[in-house]
Subunit: 311 residues, 2 copies
């Protein structure tokens, strides 16, 4: 991963002054580098003998960083990775354009890795992520969003990059189709678990651990699973409360605490975490055909970490 | 070009409702499809016998459309291609995300064309364009921007895609290095001529012909060549006028008309057009080694059109 970090640092450079400063701000935040780790781990598990996966891993982190920059503009977020969101320092226009820069750099890195199948996987993933983001944007205040459609949204906007990161690593190592599918499945289920825990933490976490403010999703009226479950389970009695706070986003002091209490009473938070745990188990099961040594236990631990984490 | 349009229409589709509507709005505007035409013409001139260039041409138009969507958000533009700018209808967040969708689609199309060298050219161009946009954003109100730096900016933000469009077409046809370089040079000089004429039209054009409002660049305080020449040539006498209208952007009725008058007096507009003409001549000269039949005269006419056009 140190080699991946070296590639990331070299390729975020540019003679245009704002670009490296803004990229550095985000890339040096409290990032977990989960997605590039997936690429490298999948490649090694699939028997990679060269370092093409390192360039793909750096490309995956650049795609992720570009989407974070654009997301924060779209959501007007205040904090990201424990730092003030870039658009609040350099302005939304710079965030949009530096996101474009990083996205293009990702494709330059992929060309360097010289694998057309990996390029296809990551180009498709980039498109699916954008579709998921638009879908979330247009449906985000919908109180009656079904759980199935919500899972479709996070499968596109989050899990697709985890799936593609793992699959691209496998493909770059010349893995046969069934191993490629197994690693893609691992990545996708890990991504779903990861996003569901993110959604839960936005209601249960503490800001000093999170690196962002809890309650952001609620303040933005973003329909995530814990909220959808709480809305469905509180019935007509709370309908007016949800219409006011989520649909019309007219929020007052104490509303967020009331939502947390309703989530506890209805088990909405615990059920979200239970679903995340189930996806993590499914992710681990996808690795069954690999030998139970080396990278396989590491990826199993990663799935457990995705659920157990506090930030 | 009808085949390219067919590809464009098929690939801008998505099950997410906002995406095709927003993409259609922009792509069906009064677009000239100059850049994809360059790709097809360069490929044919270089002797292409298959249709790989059509996918590359559609990809080029998608990259261009994505940058237009993001540009209009960055500049808060009102009109584009004769229509209300997309971000004013669907909101800036949708424009940012649909831009990302089109950019990713471009790379999916390139993968379909199956030419790693063409992918490298267009990935690099996408990155250079983003760098040019950031450079323009950070220097756009600089009254003392030199002509050389201004040419560097438009070479990156505009001419690079023209250059890459032509070069990618040449490469996909298996052109030898000297023909590839010649077509790249043609594209780059055509792009510079095209942008300089755009800059001049923003002061001399009529809105019903332009498909956007003349004076946009001035209102945004954007330092383009006609403005830079007028500022340099009017000297200390007008310094306070420029500081107020361009640097501080405090503009009043009659200011735009005064600028047009100063541009006439100083010859700033005519000199901008003369420089455009010189680049168009240089573009045509780059084609010298191709036989003077078929696509070569067509590309020569295109260079003349780039300068003579009124919109």
């Amino acid at each position: 991963m140190a080699a991946v970090d070296g590639l990331i640092r070299r390729h975020m450079d540019s003679p245009v002054p704002v670009i490296p400063a803004l990229a550095e701000h985000l890339i040096s935040g409290s990032a977990k580098r989960l997605r590039p780790l997936l690429t490298v781990a999948a490649a090694r598990l699939a028997g990679a003998r060269d370092d093409a996966c390192l360039k793909l891993a750096a490309a995956v982190e650049f795609i992720h960083t570009a989407t974070l920059l654009h997301d924060d503009v779209v959501d007007s977020s205040q904090l990201r990775r424990g730092r003030v969101a870039a658009h609040l320092i350099w302005g939304a226009p710079s965030s949009v354009l530096v996101g474009d820069f990083l996205f293009a750099r990702a494709f330059e890195l992929m060309v360097g890795a010289n694998s057309m199948p990996a390029l296809e996987i990551l180009a498709r993933a980039s498109r699916v992520i954008a579709e998921g983001e638009v879908l979330q944007l247009t449906r985000s205040h919908d109180l009656d969003l079904t759980e199935a459609l919500y899972i479709d949204i996070i499968r596109a906007k989050t899990a697709e990059l985890f799936a593609a990161a793992a699959e691209a690593g496998a493909v770059s190592a010349g893995a046969p189709p069934e191993r490629r599918r197994a690693l893609r499945k691992y990545g996708q289920d890990l991504g779903l678990a990861f996003q569901l825990v993110d959604d839960a933490l936005d209601y249960s976490g503490e800001s000093d651990e999170l690196g962002k403010n809890p309650g952001d999703d609620f303040r933005e009226g973003k329909a995530t699973l814990p909220l959808l479950l709480a809305i469905a389970r509180t019935g007509p009695a709370e309908r007016e409360f949800w219409l006011r706070t989520v649909d019309r986003r007219e929020q007052a002091d104490g509303d967020f605490e009331r939502v947390r209490e309703l989530m506890r009473q209805t088990g909405a938070l615990q059920d979200t975490l239970d679903r995340a745990q189930a996806y993590a188990e499914s992710a681990k099961a996808a690795l069954a055909e690999f030998p139970a040594i080396g990278w396989r236990p590491a990826l199993e631990d990663l799935a457990d970490f995705a659920v157990a984490r506090k930030a």
